[in-house]
Symmetry: C2
Subunit: 401 residues, 2 copies
């Protein structure tokens, strides 16, 4: 071909093309060509921020010791912060202590204003907050990484909910080999907490990575994991539904009034008529965190022949006393029925400093009194994603044995 028809100076073009996003970055993001965070070989982490004119730059995040914060109703553990120091190039930096294996989040505080790290595009949203993340490997967080192993598929699908009268979005993880095989699989329904949605277990919970890794290691059976949206007034996560972009709220109306539980059958029906699943009690599990633990408790006893496996992760065990809904009637009776129908595992996980700890103690006392068997796992820490990733990693290997 006649090369003259094309650009004569490839080098110039490459410069232009390389400069383009740099320019875009410069105009929008200061064009920082530094590395942050840098995970050092000893598992300390160096954070860097370019701000030649700032007076103070701090980093805050869950890798730092917490500090006590006083609120009207008591003291609370809040993330600590650390001061960075500035070099003569205007680059601020701070190197952490040696960190144990975990997925951490952080942000910077520049002259009192919080900002994400412009050198780290890896972010997760928690309700309305966006935080940078990084992973320290070499331990439990290796299962939160994408490793060079077979991977399942993650699909965002819409199901028809006749009960809620709308099409609604959910996330479905299918294990490696599902699409190309003929085998039938068990199903775990995995529910989010207040302020969450069908994205939360994937992004904050690293569910796809945990399942890929546990399945590859032979620790968990290949299973389908269904992550629905528990906010019945939403068709989808904020920004993913027909309401468009709006500021996500922690307290979404109608989340704990029985509507979700009463219509959960729509989700099961959708999954069981659209996937190659084993449609029996022995092959269904339900688990959830916080509000999702509340939902799992109530759904599993409201449909007392449905699930052989139940997981309550830091569950918000409280009835909504302002609501009368058939779902919350005769709780003792339906729990008894659930017990009589039999189940393989009723798993309760709770952090020692969780603000919902006492409710869990009382619920366990109630189960003890009824003679309803459960497995109890008490962990360090409180009401945080760190625990829910750990609970998921420990719960799923116990399923469908």
């Amino acid at each position: 071909m006649n090369m003259k028809l094309f650009f004569k100076n490839l080098f110039l073009i490459l410069i232009i093309m390389t400069s383009l996003p740099t320019m875009a970055q410069q105009s929008l993001f200061g064009g920082q060509q530094i590395i942050s965070p840098e995970i050092n070989s000893d598992n300390t982490v160096t954070f860097r921020f370019f701000a030649p004119n700032a007076d103070t730059v701090k980093v805050t995040g869950d890798f730092l010791p917490t500090v006590k914060m006083k609120m009207q109703w008591g003291t609370f553990d809040a993330p600590g912060n650390a001061l960075l120091s500035k070099d003569d190039q205007g680059i601020w930096s701070y190197t952490s202590e040696v960190l144990s294996s975990e997925l951490y989040n952080y942000a910077f505080i520049v002259d009192g204003l919080n900002t994400t790290d412009p050198n780290n595009p890896f972010l997760v949203r928690d309700v309305a907050s966006v935080m940078n993340i990084f992973i320290i490997g070499g331990g439990l967080a290796d299962n939160y990484k994408v490793n060079d192993i077979p991977h399942g598929t993650v699909a965002k699908r819409w199901y028809d909910s006749p009960g809620l009268e709308m099409d609604r979005r959910l996330t479905v993880y299918t294990p490696p080999g599902y699409e190309s095989g003929k085998e039938k699989y068990p199903v775990l329904y995995l529910l989010h907490g207040a302020g969450g949605d069908e994205e939360a277990w994937m992004t904050l919970g690293r569910t796809a990575q945990i399942m890929d890794n546990l399945i590859a290691q032979g620790k968990a059976k290949p299973m389908i994991v269904v992550m629905p949206n528990g906010n019945v007034i939403q068709d989808a996560a904020p920004g993913e539904g027909h309401e468009g972009f709006y500021k996500p709220q922690f307290m979404v109306p109608k989340t704990m009034d029985g509507t979700y539980e009463a219509n959960f059958k729509d989700i099961i029906n959708f999954i069981e008529s659209n996937y190659r699943i084993k449609a029996d009690k022995a092959n269904r599990a339900i688990a959830g965190l916080s509000m999702g633990g509340f939902h799992s408790l109530h759904i599993s006893r409201y449909y007392p022949k449905m699930f052989d496996y139940v997981g309550l992760f830091s569950a918000a065990i409280l009835p909504n006393q302002n609501v009368s809904n058939p779902v919350y009637e005769d709780i003792d009776g339906t729990l008894k029925k659930q017990m009589e129908n039999g189940y393989e595992l009723y798993w309760i996980g709770m952090g020692k400093t969780d603000f919902l700890y006492n409710g869990c103690v009382e619920y366990r006392a109630k189960l003890d009194k009824m003679g309803m068997k459960y497995t109890y796992r008490e962990s360090e820490g409180g009401h945080i994603w760190r625990n829910w990733r750990i609970y998921l990693s420990e719960f799923t290997p116990l399923l469908f044995k």
Copy 2:
């Protein structure tokens, strides 16, 4: 049930639960309880930022008139910025001009430092930059919204590439009804540009929303859209593959050396053996932006009996003169073969101010000389996602007629 077993003061619990994320926001993100951006009824947009101690707060983004920026190799259009004004509460604000229907991006500049909007969790990543986005409806961007219509499924899947000797990730859009039906569908292979990956067309390109809307309107035929990763050294997008989290680069090695084109058959084979598709030339389309336009040009002539529909969106029409690869041999001969084999549509889109404009003029002159028919669409503006969403919206209705 004995309510005494549960929390006695629901109200207190709700306060605690409501305060939790607020605290997390406060410690990490300043707990701003303001709304930004606010799209006003007249399609002006108000931006707000809480920074009582800042000296200046500006907003920058593609909703503002561009400014000329001088670089070594010439002047360039860069996003402009506008100064916000502060009220006595320390809240800075700015209201834009009336904006036409579009998906816009923006960021704030606080005392010279760029930061995203802490009140808007809707962000997109472009290479290593993260930007806030908002949508003005009432025109073409209505097709970029999630509307209350049937929705397709978006799946992140991994395919085996024998040629590249790895499992690689791709994004597959299947149209509404695909999973529950038996029909076979045509396929559009949709390729990203330099610095992009299998995420780009979904996030920056709003492909799922565009396809859902065009299909619901009867403008586009239901089709499968496959969005692969054109960076052959990656198994997946940055952060989604086994390399973990690292700063994405614009220039990824081996992207324009023929390796991708030579192994594209692996992707077609995967799709055609894993999806219900119509496996013939009349039902295959390939299109791409910038580098993806280059790839589409070369893949479509390298496999000259494969595609009846080709789309070059702001294509980077340049051979890599440093590389000798069979893919780039006999370009004239293979183009001629492609022409003789026949095709339905060879669609070229280019922006008037695109820095690749001249290359397109020369390529069109070459096609004219050969007598190779094409459809040419010249748009306003340059090498920007705004054009690529428009081209996708105009190209897909022409497919598979």
